[in-house]
Symmetry: C2
Subunit: 75 residues, 2 copies
Amino acid sequence: MCTACHGEDGTSRTAGTPHLGGQDRLYLERALADYRSGKRQHVPMTSLANALQPADIEALAAWYSARPGFAGSVP
Amino acid sequence: MCTACHGEDGTSRTAGTPHLGGQDRLYLERALADYRSGKRQHVPMTSLANALQPADIEALAAWYSARPGFAGSVP
């Protein structure tokens, strides 16, 4: 479900949506945790994060952080 | 002041701190606006964002989004 907004391999095609590929793993874990706790508020992500289990969050953060990143994708 | 945590050119050297180089410009603008409004809460960034003027936010978002990005910087 993540790819609909964040793109395949974590390169967003939509202005305003962050690229995730190659992003810091612990930051991604915290972002999802913050959506769950309400420290970070953004309607789609709050709903999606609340559907994740801790193991899902760890797996997603590990996967996205291991993508090649998005060098040069944004001028 | 941003570089202390987010690194020169937006490549963080600290686990848990997001890379910003090459990130989506509108996303970066919204992130800073959300810290100012309280929709996003993280102690250092809330204080720093509150010290910025709208023109500063636009300039920072434009600058970081134009960096080359961080392909391969995180294994």
